[in-house]
Symmetry: C2
Subunit: 417 residues, 2 copies
């Protein structure tokens, strides 16, 4: 992509004022813009990151047998009445659609259960794992902290259907591992704690995936021995690690980027989702649900990986692999950079090529750090004297001269994900 | 994909009753289910088709310089007040979000113009082409005809921004061509007429892309000489082909699958979207907008391509390339089919493998025709005697015995898109 054509120029913000780090950098660098409190548009750079996060999550969901579907945002009131959540769920948007009442879906149990009921008859139809990556709506009272708390947001929600609790328990552990695999790939695993939270009236615990960050609005208590945490909401019950009983817990601010929940028969009961088991007996289907917020994950990445100058995107979700920057007025510089641009694209390396002519070197390098693409390559008079380019990784200080003939090989090694 | 695991079994419908062909077949074959009038869920098969259509459209939009973004569904009332459409647009859903009023976006001029305004200052920022593939909401009074008329639907909307009308005119023609390229790829070009429709108060005409089908709710008049059509809504003004003056027009029922519109300054004016031109003069930005409904396109494909037994998917949007079916109880049959399944997947050919053991041959072949994957491959005792499989294309009658050693080569030839 030519940077001169890229929609979403970097913006000047005089100060961070009272906005969160992710909102500040993502807006300043041209990834998102705010349409209203808690409601954002994703510009080309932000959209690319979103799609990469989506890709990582989709792949993992498919690995654990998830089948992708797409359910609507408009939910008929009757389904929400059936579970009692029409009245009890505070953050439900309600609206009239041609004289019928609807909710804007904040989650999809009320839709996926009647949907699955159409197709589940016997044990042969189980287990079943359905997921979607779809836009949800929640009346957040305090829509703040940029992408960390949105009123309209994209979520991956997976629902699992089982013959019995044992099977649900096994799959629940599989999803847990799968989530950590996602967080590992994105590079945030070391900051992410499996956190014990309330399981509602029907399970002892649910589990959240909490990332330690000052921007977090949750408080968790960490057991360093077990590498798990307990959400403040349930800490009073025990104030001890539920695994080892350790009472020496460390308090931290954190943001919840995912959660998993054993629903058991909470939703199959009101919708009468039965199946016939091997012995011909009718039984309620056991369920689990598993969510990850994509935008929140994007915001969290920025909260974790930034410095004074801007964002440091992990390679797997970066909007581009390489930021290619020609510096200087010599004809040969642009020519070489253009040629490199073509070569990199042919090699399927994604490049943002800063071809802007109305910017100073200072502005160009500042924008580069702000946007935060993992690898910067500079072509200049100095580098060309050595038939080389200068390579710098965004998260490292060292600058290396690389012979142009070696560049592709070196880049491919750096970009192995 | 193993068919025994596929979510969304084929359904039994005793009769078509009064539902449209696309709704009938898409539900019966397990592509979609209805959640409420005009509101559908896409099951794995339907989701795959939707993603393929999305892929075709995205590629073409990128070819004509489109940059992909993602705008929200929740639109603050103030933007819609500014254009006057808060009052005049009948099919606007309105709702309260924490004491502020919002609309659910049926189109995005009210969002994209203020968004673009943040980044457009001079002629150097133009032209600009922004598109998204996103869920829209419209109060359809008569939500019927399956995917042809939905209350919640996915649309590709492209917006172009220009220095002057001449540049807008040029790009408008580029999009026109690009749309026909999309329809050609999907295989519906021969049924699609560029149709002159009302241009509103500021353009003589807009253009629709109308597909001839009995299920269509629009009436158009075709000029066979120019291969264009005129929408009934403007026919009274002229009753003649706007190109050649021909008055011998043919009336047809049709469905609008896309439209393009020269907005000129209709939206840049209320939002004061100005730019500074080469001479330092401040001018209003000229705009165009260009839509295609993805679900509607999917429904239209089914209306066009079906027979008594089911759907005939065009290859480029089919949920799978090949439907692989072992028939018979001999061990060798399943073994060969399984091996073929693995080979095809390795070759990046998408296969639905009917491994169901509880279905009769009749049921299996019926389901196969109903689902409508372009190529059927049967492995049976008879074919294995010849070291072969039977290959039948869904849209052809002839069955061919193909040597297994030649199969990949032949499939790859058939699947060139």
């Amino acid at each position: 992509m030519l940077q001169s054509k890229l929609f979403g120029k970097t913006q000047k913000f005089s100060s961070r004022e009272d906005i969160s780090i992710n909102e500040y950098f993502l807006q300043k660098a041209g990834f998102i813009t705010k349409t209203a409190a808690g409601i954002y548009s994703f510009l080309p750079l932000g959209f690319r990151v979103l799609k990469k996060i989506e890709g990582v999550i989709r792949k993992e969901m498919e690995k654990i047998g998830g089948q992708e579907i797409l359910m609507p945002a408009l939910h008929p009131k009757e389904y929400w009445k059936k579970t009692g959540r029409w009245e009890t769920m505070d953050d439900l948007y309600k609206l009239r659609v041609n004289n019928k009442e609807f909710a804007l879906g904040p989650t999809h149990e009320e839709i996926v259960v009647p949907l699955a009921k159409n197709f589940i008859q016997t044990y042969k139809d189980l287990p079943l794992y359905l997921f979607q990556i779809q836009t949800k709506f929640r009346k957040e009272k305090r829509a703040k902290s940029g992408l960390l708390r949105q009123r309209e947001f994209i979520m991956k929600d997976l629902y699992s259907f089982h013959e019995n609790e044992k099977d649900l328990d096994v799959y629940y552990e599989i999803v847990k591992k799968s989530y950590f695999e996602i967080f590992k790939k994105i590079g945030i695993k070391n900051y992410t704690y499996l956190t014990y939270a309330s399981g509602g009236s029907f399970s002892k615990y649910s589990h959240e995936f909490q990332v330690i960050t000052k921007a977090g609005e949750d408080t968790i208590f960490i057991c360093e021995k077990c590498k798990i945490a307990i959400n403040k909401e349930i800490i009073n019950e025990t104030f001890a690690c539920p695994i080892c009983g350790n009472k020496n817990l460390k308090q931290e601010k954190a943001i919840e980027i995912g959660n998993i929940f054993k629903l058991k028969t909470k939703f199959s009961e009101p919708f009468q989702l039965y199946f016939t088991d091997k012995n011909g007996e009718k039984k309620l289907v056991q369920m689990g649900c598993y969510g990850i917020g994509l935008g929140r994950l994007m915001g969290t990445i920025v909260e974790l990986f930034h410095d004074e100058a801007g964002i440091l995107w992990p390679k797997i979700v970066a909007p581009f692999d390489v930021h290619l920057i020609p510096i200087g007025t010599q004809k040969n510089i642009d020519k070489t950079a253009k040629k490199l641009y073509d070569t990199l694209q042919k090699e399927k390396i994604e490049v943002l090529y800063d071809d802007r002519k109305n910017k100073s070197v200072g502005e160009i390098l500042k924008d580069c750090d702000l946007i935060g693409i993992p690898i910067r390559i500079i072509v200049s008079e100095k580098t060309l004297k050595e038939n080389s380019v200068e390579l710098k990784e965004r998260n490292k200080k060292v600058k290396k001269l690389i012979r142009i003939s070696n560049l592709i090989k070196i880049l491919k090694n750096l970009l192995i994900l």
